[in-house]
């Protein structure tokens, strides 16, 4: 398939303005004749839905939680980047652009990333106007902190609850439009099918999670903002409800899935304590501003941290990456942690953990300051581990946290299926092979507030008003049929193994064979293990209850069924990409000092996969990455 990214011509810095000036517009009186479906109410979905409603489009907004305000964006802690340069420390749109490209290890699309950096400044303005209570200096002006992968202080934050506050801003804008009747809100409803009519995405089939009722909704365009698919790994920092279903069904209906193997592993999470554990908790990266990461120099040193003298500690990040130190990017910090643990120098009973030590910072700034900056994180750590991080260092370990991969979209955020737009973490996005901290919130809001509202007009203008199919068209009935049958099939199995058992097993396969490091051998191993597990699932899973009621087991079963297919695609992609880049570390390709060894000649492209049938090898489509501005360099944070 020929992939056209529709990147506008002209100099990088002018592409977006030129594009906005040249794309088609929908005349104001016609906007109300167009209906748009938005799946998801996270930062991307809520901002898109409210902004489009403000323009006059008729919007239907779906989410699986009981309220849009609970979308997983709410859990984001650390902050959001913007090239405001309020600190006068030499930040600029170009620097944010370059940091992001470099952070992504030169596997993202230049034009998109530059646009992201351009609109980042408007995001902060918009959020402040909405009443987002960003942290402020005594002057009353906005405060900033620094985040991984950057040498400027450009991260805006609201205590440790930045995502929550930004989401509330978008949610309130959305609620305003619901109140005005411009948006119809459909919570506790799960999208189970994308409906394609004559090659265009024209609607979805959903299940009412309370009554179990299956129904169809048609529209002139469909926007997916359903978040990331990291829960395929079972243990992750995602909310338990986060899932891949929406984008996976779209993939099976012909949308391309790009770079699925680019899954981010966050270096600062609370280590696993037992197999009853249902999720992993992130300790915001912002902690690395003041915390120092170390492990004992000696193998298997089981002394308590306080007993280990300074000269027997290895501050390995500061040693290996003097200029970035503890703020080295996530993929690098995570691998470094894995390395020292593999050497047997990990801490905690499991030996799977490293220390994040605040004693210096507390001495330097005083406990009060640290409390003010990270109080809620220290509390959270205490609740979970029952340890006091003011006294003894935190124990942290990497965990699955974000997926750079997602549905393929062009410059307009439209997938290869006309009329299907994909926003936020759900698209393959602007983060290449590794996302920098505080950039996902930025991207979600950029997509929803400042990109889609312009670009969707370009498509809608080409659709005759009122030309959308009725929800009782044959294609919809067909999709409803398939959905119900699938549900009945799951409920009919009544096997021996629980859904969780399957999910945990799949998670272990992915984590061990396609996690922080990957190799041809491990990946082939995974490819051998996944299909049998999938078959067993469809024979032996136990899904209690019925379809026509609130049935959380059924919901989970459907999602795990999708993971069992998605996992295979993740591994295919990892196996195909025979290079190391960003989060994707292939044992076969490392520099002498153990860093990623990219192969730009052969792999400087986006891998966009095409569905060919469950268990069948998907077709690979390549979108070459053309760099007009930056020249590809070996990434160095030394």
């Amino acid at each position: 398939m020929k992939l056209d990214a529709k990147i506008p011509a002209g100099p990088l810095a002018q592409k977006w303005d030129k594009h906005k000036a040249s794309i088609k517009l929908v005349n104001p009186s016609n906007k109300r004749k167009y209906e748009v479906i938005v799946v998801g109410t996270g930062l991307a979905g809520a901002s898109a839905a409210s902004s489009m409603a403000e323009l006059g489009y008729v919007v239907k907004s779906f989410c699986i939680q009981d309220s849009p305000r609970r979308a997983h964006s709410v859990a984001a802690q650390g902050g959001i980047n913007a090239a405001k340069n309020y600190q006068n420390d030499g930040d600029s749109v170009y620097r944010l652009f370059y940091d992001t490209i470099k952070g992504g290890d030169f596997r993202s699309r230049e034009a998109n990333v530059h646009r992201l950096a351009e609109v980042s400044v408007n995001i902060i303005d918009q959020c402040v106007a909405q009443g987002v209570p960003f942290a402020r200096e005594y002057s009353g002006y906005l405060a900033n902190r620094s985040f991984g992968g950057a040498q400027v202080s450009r991260t805006f934050y609201a205590r440790g609850q930045t995502g929550q506050q930004l989401l509330l801003g978008a949610y309130q804008a959305l609620m305003r439009q619901v109140g005005l009747g411009q948006v119809t809100l459909v919570p506790r409803t799960e999208m189970l099918e994308l409906v394609v009519v004559n090659g265009h995405a024209k609607g979805i089939v959903v299940r009412d999670m309370v009554t179990g009722r299956i129904s169809s909704h048609s529209a002139d365009a469909v926007v997916l903002a359903s978040g990331g698919y990291g829960n395929a790994y079972y243990l992750s920092t995602y909310g338990r409800g986060s899932n891949a279903t929406a984008i996976w069904r779209a993939y099976k209906k012909g949308a391309l899935f790009a770079n699925p193997c680019f899954t981010q592993i966050h270096p600062t999470c609370i280590p696993v304590t037992g197999d009853y554990q249902s999720k992993l908790t992130l300790m915001s990266e912002s902690l690395r501003n003041d915390g120092r990461v170390w492990v004992p120099k000696k193998k298997g040193d089981k002394r308590s941290p306080s007993e280990i003298p300074e000269d027997e500690r290895d501050y390995y990040l500061e040693r290996k990456y003097p200029s970035y130190g503890n703020l080295a990017p996530r993929d690098i910090s995570s691998r470094a942690a894995k390395q020292v643990c593999d050497e047997g120098r990990g801490v905690g009973e499991s030996g799977l953990g490293v220390y994040l030590d605040f004693s210096d910072a507390i001495q330097r700034l005083g406990r009060a300051k640290i409390e003010e900056r990270y109080g809620n994180l220290f509390d959270m750590y205490h609740e979970i581990t029952h340890e006091n991080a003011y006294k003894s260092p935190m124990r942290i370990f990497p965990a699955i946290h974000y997926t750079m991969g997602g549905l393929w979209v062009d410059y307009n955020l439209m997938s290869n299926l006309p009329g299907l737009y994909v926003l936020g973490e759900a698209n393959f996005s602007d983060h290449g092979a590794n996302r920098l901290g505080a950039s996902a919130l930025m991207q979600g809001l950029a997509d929803g507030y400042f990109v889609l509202p312009y670009t969707i007009g370009d498509y809608l203008a080409s659709q005759k008003p009122g030309s959308r199919p009725k929800p009782d068209a044959a294609e919809f009935k067909q999709a409803e049929q398939e959905t119900s049958e699938r549900i009945q099939k799951l409920l009919a199995i009544r096997g021996k193994k629980t859904i969780t058992e399957f999910h945990k097993q799949l998670g272990r396969i992915l984590w061990e064979h396609c996690g922080m490091t990957r190799s041809e051998k491990s990946l082939k191993e995974a490819l051998a293990q996944i299909p049998p597990l999938r078959e067993e699932f469809w024979k032996n899973v136990n899904v209690p209850g019925e379809g026509e009621e609130l049935n959380q087991s059924l919901e989970r079963a459907g999602r795990v069924a999708d993971y069992l297919e998605l996992a295979e695609l993740i591994v295919y992609d990892a196996l195909m990409r025979d290079e190391s880049c960003g989060c994707h570390f292939r044992e076969e390709h490392k520099t002498e000092d153990g860093e990623c060894q990219r192969n730009d000649e052969q792999y400087a492209y986006v891998a966009a996969w095409e569905f060919t049938g469950v268990g069948k090898t998907p077709t690979l489509n390549k979108e070459p990455l053309v760099y007009e501005e930056v020249h590809l360099a070996q990434r160095s944070y030394k």
């Binding site: 402040v128 209570p133 200096e137 009353g140 205590r159 009853y276 959270m380 609740e383 979970i384």
Partner: protein
């Protein structure tokens, strides 16, 4: 450790509900309360019985989805934490734990421990926002906000909309939730222009949803996982009467009803 659970089971809003008793054996004290429920559910599933339905998502105390009344206390025994951050070490071996859903007329029960809190969304729709459309915002630093105000607004904005305040209040009053949102926006210069309109409309909607009134008993503050304080209720009252006075003084009525 082992505990005995008395859990409210109710198939749906219409069906009659009752307490079922379950044994949770060799529980790890470091499990969260919800992980303990997971274990019980796994067991129920294996034994071919319906697992207990309960709301949850983030499991780190920020989404506001989890909503259990544990031994009569919304979000359980610990101070300033949500149900999902309640750990089994807070209970003692052999204890019998009673688990009920949030109870309020305005929160109709959906199933077992799951209730419908859409009333909160409708209160926000009534006025819990700043009417600024995308693109029309001035520079973020154009209007400085005194740090104290920003911090106080943040204290209020920390509300996760869980509804525990309603569940705990003897009058099932939503005052703390509404006060938190009203205060968050009214404290900031960006929210001032709609100050009166906002508080009048949100209080109106709150009453319409059938929440009770506040008799200043303070249970809400005690169970709030984010420690939202009663003083915000006082502030909302102040804003409300301020708004009434302004209307009284023949100011153009600032709320459409």
């Amino acid at each position: 450790m082992n505990v005995t659970l008395r859990v409210w089971r109710q198939r749906n809003a219409e069906a009659p509900g009752r307490f079922e008793t379950y044994e949770a054996k060799d529980i790890n004290p470091n499990m969260s309360f919800l992980e303990m429920l997971d274990v019980v559910n796994e067991d129920l599933t294996r034994r071919g019985q319906g697992p207990i339905a309960f709301d949850h998502d983030c499991r780190e105390g920020i989404c506001g989805m989890c909503s259990c009344v544990i031994n009569g206390e919304p979000h359980g025994p610990e101070y300033k934490v949500a149900t999902c951050q309640t750990y089994m070490r807070s209970f003692h071996d052999g204890e019998t734990i009673t688990v009920e859903p949030f109870r309020s007329r305005a929160f109709p029960l959906i199933k077992d421990l799951v209730v419908n809190r859409s009333a909160f969304d409708r209160i926000i729709q009534a006025g819990g926002f700043v009417s600024v459309s995308t693109g029309s915002a001035p520079d973020g630093n154009a209007i400085p906000v005194p740090k104290q105000n920003a911090d106080l607004a943040m204290d209020a904005a920390a509300c996760i909309g869980c509804g525990a305040c309603v569940a705990a209040c003897k009058n099932a009053s939503a005052m703390l939730f509404v006060a938190a949102k009203v205060s968050h926006l009214n404290l900031l210069p960006q929210g001032r222009p709609e100050k009166e309109k906002r508080v009048l409309a949100m209080v109106e909607q709150m009453d319409e949803e059938g929440f009770g009134a506040c008799t200043v008993t303070g249970s809400c503050e005690a169970v709030c996982p984010k420690g939202i304080g009663l003083s915000f209720i006082a502030k909302m009252n102040r804003d409300y009467f301020g708004a009434l006075l302004k209307m009284g003084r023949g100011r153009p009525a600032t709320v459409e009803t």
